[in-house]
């Protein structure tokens, strides 16, 4: 009998242990008026700024008994975390999302529209790219505190030494002018341009080189029908990437770079890169730093845009509080100015630019101009991850010497197959 009793105890303990593991996997403690906020983990300065924004929100709403709690998740695990949360019914009230992934979460019914929470006058203060990125099927689902910009940085001194006339801030180089400049630089013994082909994230390729296709009048996907096949591999896209491929075929750009920032070290004359390099490039080059819009293959002007944006979950049981928080993080004074000061991105609202005098200067002036005049979001489709994966893979293969027509067609077929399932 004694053994049996011990055993019963034993079973109970382990049964409870197993059940406990089970419960901890499923449940989450409900927490009164605490608003749950999820965010991707950025640089430490950015996270710290975000924590301070949350703290200031809590301070301002202490009397109302409202409190927000923020949790950060590493970039590369973020979408997995959201998926796991969706499956387990354990999602926050509000979270930030990378712009092009928005359509996927709207499609899955996870997000609540924001139209009613912001007046038209308020929305007019935001950059057009922020509104375009957040709008799916004519409804607004997300608002960002900042946007991104992509330009061609160049070193005035290196260009002058090689006898290359720098590109114009108002009129981008045509592709022929760009290739000619590269040829002159290479003859002068300088590595012409860095394209960051060592980047491991697929998104870099889609973000950085979609503008080449757009400039030729092409697009990655038909925005009305969502069709990819026949659009991604349209003749103008193939021609555009044939032009782009020249950069590698003629060895104007390194296809397997080791150094992440060769331009900053003076190893390349030009840098195809984003706003996030502005501070470091200015520090390295000072007066010698120039910036121009990206070279274009055709007549069209379309600049890269898009970044993280805030969205409310449809499952939230306190949407009014969530809306208050969202309003706070995208307000000029409380949200945008502190976060932009920390991460150096482009402020999402026109009224915020006053706080940043550098927007009178190059390269910042160009960021603002591109985003207000001809910024374009990446395609909005629930199948964006498959589109960007296949497109990025095609770009890497084309840079590597693969035939653009064949490679783009395969990418289009494969992305379409995923969309059709």
């Amino acid at each position: 009998m004694k053994i049996s009793q011990q055993f019963r105890l034993f079973l109970t303990v382990f049964g409870l242990l197993g059940f406990g593991i089970f419960l901890s996997g499923c449940g989450s403690a409900e927490s009164g008026e605490t608003l749950r906020v999820w965010a991707h983990q950025g640089q430490e300065a950015e996270n710290q700024a975000m924590r301070e924004i949350v703290a200031s929100f809590n301070e301002a709403h202490a009397i109302a008994g409202i409190r927000a709690e923020i949790e950060f998740f590493p970039d590369h695990q973020y979408s997995e975390r959201i998926a796991a949360g969706a499956a387990a019914g354990d999602l926050p009230d509000i979270m930030d999302l990378d712009g092009p992934t928005l359509a996927r979460y709207v499609d899955a019914g996870l997000l609540a529209p924001l139209d009613d929470d912001f007046s038209e006058a308020e929305l007019a203060d935001f950059l057009p790219t922020i509104i375009a990125q957040g709008t799916i099927d004519d409804r607004l689902y997300a608002l960002g505190a900042f946007d991104s910009a992509l330009v061609l940085y160049y070193d005035r001194e290196i260009l002058a030494a090689a006898g290359v006339t720098p590109p114009n801030e108002d009129r981008p180089w045509t592709w022929d002018e760009f290739l000619a400049a590269c040829a002159t630089l290479k003859e002068a013994g300088v590595d012409p341009v860095s394209l960051h082909m060592d980047e491991s994230a697929d998104e870099w390729y889609t973000y950085a080189f979609s503008p080449v296709i757009w400039s030729a009048g092409g697009s990655l996907m038909d925005p009305d029908t969502g069709r990819i096949e026949g659009v991604l591999n349209a003749p103008e896209n193939i021609e555009a990437l044939r032009q782009w491929q020249q950069l590698f075929a003629l060895d104007y750009a390194d296809n397997s770079p080791v150094e992440p920032n060769p331009f900053g070290l003076g190893k390349t004359a030009m840098d195809w890169s984003g706003h996030w390099m502005a501070r470091s490039h200015l520090e390295a080059k000072r007066e010698a730093l120039g910036a121009a819009p990206l070279p274009v293959v055709g007549e069209h002007r379309a600049a890269a845009s898009g970044s993280w944006a805030w969205a409310m979950l449809s499952t939230s049981d306190r949407p009014d509080v969530a809306a208050k928080f969202l309003r706070w993080v995208v307000s000029t004074e409380n949200g945008i100015v502190p976060i932009v000061r920390a991460n150096g991105a482009v402020p999402a609202r026109r009224s915020a630019f006053e706080a940043f005098p550098e927007y009178e200067e190059i390269p910042y002036r160009l960021f603002k101009r591109q985003l207000t005049e001809h910024g374009r979001p990446r395609p909005q489709t629930p199948h964006y991850p498959a589109l960007t994966r296949n497109f990025a893979e095609a770009l890497r293969d084309i840079a590597n010497g693969a035939d653009p027509a064949e490679t783009l067609t395969r990418a289009a077929t494969q992305a379409q197959a995923v969309a059709d399932r």
Binding site: I3, F10, L11, F14, A87, R104, S200, V258, R396, V418
Partner: protein
Amino acid sequence: MKNVRVTAKRLPETWTAWGFLAPALVLLGLFVLWPTLRALFWSFTDADLLRPQQDQSRGMANYSVLLNDPRFRQAFFNTALFALMVVPVQTVFSFFLALWVNRPEPYWRWLRTVFFVPVVVSLPVLAILWTLLYQPVRGEEMGLINALITGIGLPGQRWLRDPTLALPALAFMSVWQGAGFQMLIFLAGLQNLNAETLEAARIDGAGPLQRLRYVILPSMKNSIIFVVTATLILSFRLFAQPYLMTGGGPDGRTRSLIQFIYETTFQDRNLGLASAGVILFLFIVAFLTLMQRLAGKEEKS
């Protein structure tokens, strides 16, 4: 009376055994059996990663989609080819490595540790290291491997960027990385070897090759079966090296089955299709392991 006492004593004993098994069984059930059954169930549905509760039956449709999907087929082919390169090379290589370092002097023990180090270092670190080693030639700059090759007058290669060389390059790196583990298992086998039998063979005039063929190999049989099986399963689980070093390219020639499943789940949200991939993967590995066990047994009889 006697009988009763015996059963009364025995019954609790079996119960105790179950009690000791319980924690392992609970964990195994929770983290292996249940997810596998869940995947099996999902593989017949159109489950969406973001709303798996709203799934509908698709019958066998996922399986036929998979078998007709050129990306899945390519991923399967790549993985199988990788295993085909890695399993024999790694087994033979680690076997001779074990024979070589199986000596009692302390500095040989030190060498064993050296060979084992890559097994312990995390794969992402090794991926960066080998990406640098495989750097193609550009002007004066090149990776160490190309420097060695051009040093003896051969043309430099674009290892990870060449569609035909990328997978062999990854296989080579994987053999280097994993061989230490197999070496250790072989070493354990070698140290169980009966020294007297070996000595007797030597006295009877058996040369090193004959000793290997007739004494060492037969008694190492279990180690060899285990190593081949383990290497096969491990090489089918290929993911980190190509994902980090080539992204599955060039031309999709290094995309592995696991990468396909990962992409289908987390990027395409197609939990149903991905689960079908998991089940097929499970069957392939189970089938290969079984075949190998059978082959091992046949030789014995």
